[in-house]
Symmetry: D2
């Protein structure tokens, strides 16, 4: 079965680093979100249009990352993006950060819940988005995809 990963690339900028000489950890999440934005746009769900339309928002309720190797200034990083969980009102996205020579430098994960903007209650994912995410669901993901509540 085909790998469902979307590939995104970025180069570690000077402003990504800190006085310790390597990427400041919080900036990994910024890059993860850039990869998520690019991927959602590719899937037909551009975040800027979603925010302007005002019918659906997908705020993050969880984020996490593990840092295995330092990311250095100038490094060209490949980010693989995968759906790793799909529920009625939320979904999880996994990110793998690989250096130029294929070494896994970091992994990250974000969980997004569907809400109506200005409303704190969750809603079910729209059918078209749920179908698209389901078709991209990574069947090898460690997390058991469960299409149940929340």
């Amino acid at each position: 079965m085909a790998d469902q990963a979307y590939a995104y690339q970025f180069r570690v900028s000077l402003h990504d680093t800190d006085a310790a000489g390597v990427l400041f950890f919080a900036h990994l999440f910024r890059h993860a979100h850039d990869a998520y934005e690019a991927w959602m746009g590719e899937l037909g769900f551009a975040l800027d249009e979603m925010i302007r339309d005002g019918g659906l928002a997908l705020p993050l309720v969880h984020a996490e990352a593990d840092f295995k190797r330092p990311l250095r200034h100038g490094d060209l990083i490949r980010v693989e993006v995968r759906v790793d969980e799909l529920r009625a009102s939320s979904f999880g996205v996994g990110y793998r950060f690989l250096t130029d020579d294929g070494i896994l430098a970091a992994i990250a994960r974000t969980v997004h819940v569907a809400v109506r903007p200005g409303d704190s209650a969750s809603r079910v994912l729209p059918d078209d988005l749920a179908a698209t995410l389901r078709s991209r669901l990574d069947s090898s993901a460690q997390r058991r995809p469960a299409e149940t509540q929340t």
Copy 2:
């Protein structure tokens, strides 16, 4: 005559620095804006309320900075904020960044123009804001304060 400067303080964080070991220049503007926000709140014009009210916006049309000494991780920085120009629809704010031992490390300047949100045309500054800024106008500012057009 009393000095009209407002004083704001911050410490240079690890994430403010880059691999060259000193504050990354663009972050000076972030700190300048934090000082501007704190000062506007003190003057009774909190930006968050202004944005939520939706009647007035004060977008930046110009920003500049001169860097004289490196700002280092851990440095405690005092920012002096002054009105240095007042016009019918806009105003200029000057910032001086001083290290703990009183050395001038950087200066910055921002110019803000009054607009109605969602409208690109400028409007005159509201009377109360103009009066407040006038009372804080730095008479020693090099820039000739002119209460004329734009």
Copy 3:
């Protein structure tokens, strides 16, 4: 028994927010790290001196956060910082983000491992740092503090 939490405060700035109107999630980690830096300085282990001395580094190997309520522009946030895990070569720090009216808006956690700068292998925590962290260890932390390997 006394609560071992250290309290840090910040106000949600305009640049912390995004077009969706609330704090952009990655900036929570920046604020968590600011709280961590202030706390370490208070404990006598200022990060800037540590980086300049070059004998010990405490890079992050893990970071995570749960977002419960949106943090809005202008909100005054209290961050409680606690040691929630202590091992031979690493420690965990927990953060609780509370709004002005005491509502828990977010929690975060970072794990730091002791290394010699420029060396990828971990080392044991220096005695004075380990003792200080032990004295602050949150005995009610859900995570079982274990003073064992790594």
Copy 4:
């Protein structure tokens, strides 16, 4: 005569924007520096190698920007980078930010001075860098390029 501009592109991310719905001004400088880094790498003077080598640093001594049109979430921005001034120890770089439909949304400028790392005194630009910058010097630049002091 051929235009000496280097072209760089970026898309305005969610985290570039603020609660006012448009790019937060300080982030324009971050993107300008990303364009500068990409351009310097293309010219054969990759900043990451320069910082690691430790023989030459090119810190910013001045930065400025004028904001003409709001940059919105999702906008694809083309940045044109040009040398607009060349002196014995410093050079100026101009940036034009154009939207997808060719509208000039912002301009920026940075001035870099050559120093030996850890030394506050300026030094002359290395011959190869000076020659490369001279070949890219924008003859139509408003600023009179003067190959004189500082």
